[in-house]
Symmetry: C2
Subunit: 890 residues, 2 copies
């Protein structure tokens, strides 16, 4: 006979914590607490298998279920020494849902089940408190009527208000036993009228009604939506927990409380919790009475006069403190517990892993290793890598008062204050004058790089989490609020407005990129500090990870930041970022405007020494570490002048007319620039650009070696290749320059030539491409755009709807789409390695800093991930976690 029901109580249990999938989190932990001898009110769990059977068989129950429930209920009666539905001495039960993952939207709890017109009298007698008994009865009808019978809770509240008005009561506490009795009567009449049948009074009918309601709620709309959004399978199902009630509100020798085994906010190893004497669990949460501290230390810290439990119930507190030690020793993690004291006896109602802040998670993990509770591997796994971001940027002072101006997307974390400016040029000018500025633009483009660099923070009114502003800001570690759609910027009047408020250029604002908030005035911020715990976790993580972590950076500042954050190389140096400097852009524009190769070569001659100087500095900073330099990638029109003034400047530099500049600019316009004349297509059509860049790289390498004596092995990366022939064509150009530089400098030039894999065709052709390419770097931003046929810049119009409707579970630009993009990465990895077993494989898209994507990279077996400097610690931790997870699987 299949077992559907698992009993627990009286120091024994049929389940344990390992049976989470079958019994749900709550049921498994109740059984586990029984197993280790903690005082748990007896009960039983109806397994998740019943839920699956229920939906697999037209919403009916397995035949054996009724008998197993009866037997388990009998065991409960025997343990507590009273009968379910016994008018003289009734046992009441709670019925709670509980799946393997906690899930809002499900039916939650029915308490006091088993009460009716007869057992209420027995409860009054047993408790010696008639008011308590009738109050419990009316609460039960209200709860059951709402969640099981589906009656609008407003119907109950109206009747409650009526009776209160009639007896002249304002607060519930002013209601007497007879008032509650009257309300019970009216509740039952109302239910009868609404449903056309009386409220069920038979306790077993009540019980099966509640069990059915739990299972029924598994398929309600809210629950289904939640599951779809959180990737929970419909097949998991929920369990039902039926447990004898204990009461913390039967007098002054009763109490109820919640606690964490350590401080969940700081992680300090301190018992941390609250309790109330003569109260029910919901009273602690509801805030009608102020809960008291559990410990004397806590009371003193809060300056409270109300006695701590340690003082008022020292013996019970002693028992509870022992439970705390027992639970931590057993679960080896901070626990979040609920307990009730009924007439001097402690009962444990729940234990679960405690939610904690990031600093607390770090401290607890490190402490527990020192306490011998967990291994270093476990400690590394305990810290949420994605949340680490919080520690790496300035935060708003939590105690500060703020006046919110507007909201947008939390595009890049950190808080910053400064005066608002509406142009990048002004941002630069005023920053050079020593002012802190916040740059506000409808959107940003590559021409705003200098302004974004100069600014403390960035606001845009258009674009999403992966818009230009967001991506660049994260790369630079600048706080950014993007796509603040309600804010209107008026460049003409140099103001921005939102909800009736207006901010002019020069006014002070503060932004919080972690929450997406724009605030008026100067809100104080706190600088990030790295705790010893943080450093310790990173040391353990570094010992453990297999993948290397590099950074995407090109300015000396960013390269230095990357090194400080622990980057082991540069995975993506975007040479075009070096082109926007105001001194250089004119030469770059002159190159673009040139109508022939000779003209381009002349302009390139001017750019060469600047690029070379950049590379020398990067090589020197990264001394000896690998540096991957990508050849010019963006469409040329991104560099074009827009204002008349800029056009005149270019016309002059290129010895041509403004008309000609405009004509050429118009010719460079593209319908779909993302799929246009960019990447290696530039170098194929204008090999002299590739030649200049290769020369700058190799000459810089020679210079850096001469200066530092450290070996420099530049990795020259060809972007946007779709064919092996492109690589061959450009490799020939690069190799020729290397031979030339090697001869003229009289030194050996050691280098690799590789390619981005960022087009589906390149992934499929990886076998052939690897014949020529010595490394692959997965450009998963563009690979996601092409695989999905989805423009990052334009997805804002519909991606929100896709996520809301659950068509996509996550934004594929934030977390790598394993099914589609991931399969291409896997294919390219397999085919690349088949051709060239020792090929170097990495990822340099934004995904290189996303923990879930990093886990995927470990599974595929990449050699390194590369991400923005500020995400390097996250990547180090996530890489370690992925390595540990991989080991645990095997």
């Amino acid at each position: 006979m299949k077992k559907w029901v698992y009993a627990f109580g009286d120091g024994k249990a049929e389940g344990d914590a390992s049976m989470r999938n079958l019994l749900g989190g709550k049921g498994a932990n109740l059984a586990e607490m029984c197993q280790i001898g903690l005082p748990v009110p007896p009960g039983f769990t109806i397994s998740t298998d019943v839920c699956a059977w229920y939906y697999g068989n037209g919403e009916s129950y397995p035949e054996e279920l009724a008998g197993q429930v009866t037997a388990a209920l009998k065991a409960v009666e025997e343990t507590v020494g009273s009968g379910f539905g016994d008018p003289a001495n009734p046992v009441l039960v709670s019925v709670r849902s509980g799946g393997r993952a906690s899930m809002p939207g499900m039916m939650d709890t029915v308490l006091n089940l088993g009460l009716n017109d007869e057992t209420v009298v027995g409860l009054a007698a047993a408790s010696g408190d008639e008011r308590f008994a009738w109050d419990s009865y009316r609460r039960f009808i209200q709860m059951y009527g709402d969640v099981v019978l589906g009656i609008d809770h407003y119907s109950f509240e109206t009747l409650l208000e009526d009776v209160k008005a009639e007896v002249g009561a304002t607060l519930d506490t002013e209601m007497g036993a007879s008032d509650w009795q009257e309300l019970v009567k009216r509740y039952k009449d109302m239910v009868d009228a609404e449903l056309g049948e009386p409220f069920p009074l038979e306790p077993h009918t009540q019980l099966w009604g509640a069990v059915g309601a739990v299972f029924g709620s598994w398929m309600n709309q809210r629950a289904k939506t939640y599951r779809r959004l959180h990737g929970i399978s419909d097949d998991w199902g929920t369990a039902v927990n039926v447990q004898a009630m204990v009461f913390g509100n039967m007098g002054d020798d009763c109490a109820t409380g919640v606690a964490f085994t350590r401080d969940p906010s700081t992680g300090d190893n301190r018992f941390y919790g609250e309790y109330l004497i003569n109260a029910q669990g919901e009273d602690v949460v509801a805030g009608i009475r102020t809960p008291q501290n559990l410990t004397t230390e806590g009371r003193l810290a809060h300056g409270s006069e109300d006695p701590a439990m340690e003082e008022s119930m020292p013996e019970i507190f002693g028992q509870l403190d022992a439970v705390r030690t027992r639970l931590e020793g057993h679960y080896k993690d901070i626990q979040d517990i609920e307990f009730t004291v009924q007439r001097g006896k402690l009962w444990m109602l729940q234990t679960r892993s405690g939610k904690r802040t990031v600093p607390a998670a770090i401290k607890i993990a490190v402490d527990m290793v020192e306490e011998g509770l967990i291994s270093k591997d476990e400690a590394v796994l305990r810290v949420d890598a994605a949340q680490l971001d919080q520690l790496l940027h300035p935060m708003l002072d939590p105690s500060a008062e703020v006046e919110v101006f507007g909201r947008g997307l939390p595009a890049s974390p950190g808080a910053a204050s400064g005066i608002v400016v509406f142009s990048s040029d002004e941002a630069e000018t005023r920053a050079q004058a020593g002012e802190d500025v916040i740059l506000a633009r409808t959107e940003t483009s590559p021409e705003d790089i200098h302004g974004m660099h100069a600014a403390r923070g960035i606001v845009t009114t258009r674009g999403g989490m992966t818009s230009h502003a967001a991506v660049v800001a994260r790369g630079m570690g600048r706080p950014c609020v993007a796509g603040a759609g309600d804010v209107r910027i008026d460049y003409q009047s140099q103001t921005m407005a939102c909800g009736g408020k207006s901010v002019a250029a020069g006014d002070k604002v503060t932004i919080d990129g972690a929450s997406g908030t724009i605030m008026l005035g100067d809100v104080p911020t706190l600088q990030p500090t790295f705790s010893d715990g943080f450093r310790q976790i990173m040391v353990w993580a570094d010992e453990r990870r297999r993948m290397r972590v590099r950074a995407n950076a090109e300015t000396p500042t960013d390269v230095r930041t990357a090194l400080e954050f622990g980057a082991e190389g540069i995975g993506l140096c975007r040479t075009e970022h070096m082109f926007f400097d105001s001194e250089r852009i004119v030469a770059v524009r002159q190159m673009i405007m040139a109508e022939d190769e000779a003209g381009r070569r002349e302009a390139l001659e001017r750019i060469l020494p600047m690029q070379r100087a950049d590379f020398v500095e990067i090589f020197k900073i990264m001394a000896g570490l690998p540096v991957t330099i990508r050849l010019l990638d963006p469409p040329l029109h991104e560099f074009l002048p827009h204002s008349e003034e800029e056009m005149a400047e270019v016309a002059k530099a290129a010895s041509t007319t403004v008309e000609e500049v405009k004509r050429r600019a118009a010719r460079l316009e593209e319908t779909n620039p993302m799929l246009g004349h960019r990447g290696c297509r530039l170098a194929v059509t204008y090999p002299e650009i590739c030649e200049m860049q290769a020369r700058a790289i190799f000459e810089a390498a020679a210079d850096a070696v001469a200066e530092t004596g450290e070996a420099v092995i530049p990795e020259v990366m060809i972007p946007l290749a779709a064919t092996k022939a492109e690589i061959d064509t450009l490799k020939a150009v690069i190799d020729a320059v290397a031979v030339d530089v090697s001869a003229s400098r009289n030194c050996a030039i050691d280098y690799l030539v590789g390619t981005m894999i960022e087009l589906p065709r390149a992934a499929l052709q990886a076998g052939a491409i690897a014949e020529s390419a010595e490394f692959f770097s997965f450009g998963t931003n563009d690979l996601t755009q092409t695989t999905f046929g989805l423009s990052r810049d334009d997805a804002g119009q519909f991606l929100g709807a896709y996520l809301e409707q659950g068509i996509l579970e996550v934004d594929p630009f934030i977390s790598l789409d394993r099914e589609g993009v991931g399969e291409l990465v896997q294919i390219a990895t397999d085919r690349g390695r088949a051709t060239r077993p020792n090929i170097k494989l990495g990822i340099c898209g934004e995904h290189g800093g996303d923990p879930s994507s990093i886990e995927f990279c470990e599974q595929v077996g990449l050699d390194y991930v590369s991400c923005s400097p500020f995400r390097v610690p996250i990547a180090r931790l996530a890489a370690a976690q992925a390595a540990i997870a991989a080991d645990q699987k095997t």
Copy 2:
């Protein structure tokens, strides 16, 4: 001992026509002609294996080669009864390259090899013509010096001019024996001076020099480039043919000529050729003397007085005519032959398959089936499907005189005349007034559809073979010259100019879309007529093909054309094309401008009856055949108004302001519209659009069934899906409408719901998608764009360079890229069929009308191809050829 050399001559040969790969085309056919007893001057072929050995072994020869050549040469000497290098009676030889595919860029021919200061005397004696002997000798030195010794031919020409001037000769014919002798002396002196060593006089040295030059030329730059562009492997190598010389210029009993066994222009079964008495082969080609007709019939047809060979050399002609019959009976195809008559004896120098026009190819194929020479399958294979296009459109009258105005790309075949207009509205107005118009635009957009429809032909100055204008024009069957970059259109002055000429609106021009020419004035054109042969070939093709052929069409005119051309259904009905009609566009714009669902629904209510009426007509025309209707696909902004006038109209219809219209239009602008808010993303965000379209389809189906009694099974196609969830979401909307229409019309609605596979992710996820989709249609235009990361609209900037440099062998928008896009099609096919074995699979990209792509579709096993109506015959033929090829393989 490996055999490297294959002898032929005297009615025997060691090779035959089947050994083309080893002996090259020329060598194999010379051997074959010997085998079947035709008179061929003796010789031998050094096989392509020697070429491979040569390059595999540091440009050296296999040890056994010299011996085998000596033996073969000896056999030649024995056959002709004279010695190689014998001063008394020398045999001279020709040395020619010849690979398995004919290939420009290779060393071609050295004639008269074996001549030197001694043998020239022997030749003079043997021929009795001293001038002939010395002329032959100087020609030999000139040819050998140029192609073997690498001396600039200019050096020889200068000396020739010198001698001519000295002796006062203008023409070569005025030169006597002693003049040639003087020139030989100067040639030898010049070679000695240039090379620092004398011209090789020893005949065997000459022979090995020529053989080496042939092999060396296999790897010269021109040959390598040609091979890369034409997909010929470097490994194939070339053979070398050494053959005894015969002379057609030894007197009046000598002649030389070329002929086709049938008329290569009409296909008529008539001997067709030219000859010259007392001449060399090159004289026929060079055009110094006018060649005479071979047959009396030919002479009379050309109105020539010069005697035909049939008249001047009746006996030889009889032999030649017998050879003609023999060759056709043997090769079972039209042959292109070369012959020489030396002193009354006929020698065959070459035979090969004859190039022919498309009408000729058809006539010859059908005739040869009737003559019992070939099977129907072979006849079907004999017609080049790609060239069939020529037959389906009007052509320029070849006898007309033309004045060329400018040139562009041959974007859509056919010729047309009319007055030039520069706007689509004017095109429509003047066409309605009964005028023939040619629409000239810098480029076209979807708003020009009505103008393009109204025009006889289209000219653009921007865009490539796959630009909007080109694609739409081909779909409509309108001639189009696209991307005429030298033509400047000035809308302001309503003129276009090119190379100093100017054309004003209203002036007559003629365009030829097959050659890309724009001509001034009204050039007469010929209407296409379908020959009986054409009809016969199509009948045989239809019997033979496995795949169905459908058409991409949506207007009643196009649908009717498709049916006439033999389409078996509509594979792609683009509903958006129905939206641009001037009556409808306002309602469509009103829908787009609506800020909420209610506003959109109101506008959609106005569009519904129009869409329904369209579908009713299509269903009626295609009575009983499948019709695939694609839901709205393009980004909404494609429908937006541009002129102030249009904006005002929309503002009025939508009860809003022009400002608001502009604001909304700006919000709809996209950076990369190809990857933006389009395809099923529109229907996911605005389900009411999908609802309206489904309703129009199902109500139309019900109407059409009621009217015609023929079953209508619409196939509703969801565009641009990347996930199964998108299909599920929209299928639910479509199914609900079907239930509703079915109830309200009280009839069963039979339909399929399927999807385009046009994104790499969809191809990879085809297994999951097939759970919901009942058919796939490969949208290979967009699949090519995303797989390559290549915008069709922008590729013009660099695709030319890619093709020129051989990085891409063919434009992937014209012929399906089998390596990349093809692999995705294969993956999707495999995975789709694994999930749903009977899934219906087709292709509806432009590739559906391209023979090479159709061959791929057959290999993958698609159920049908769909192409523009005018390409349906091409697709029918290509599908049959692919099916035959597939059968031949197995």
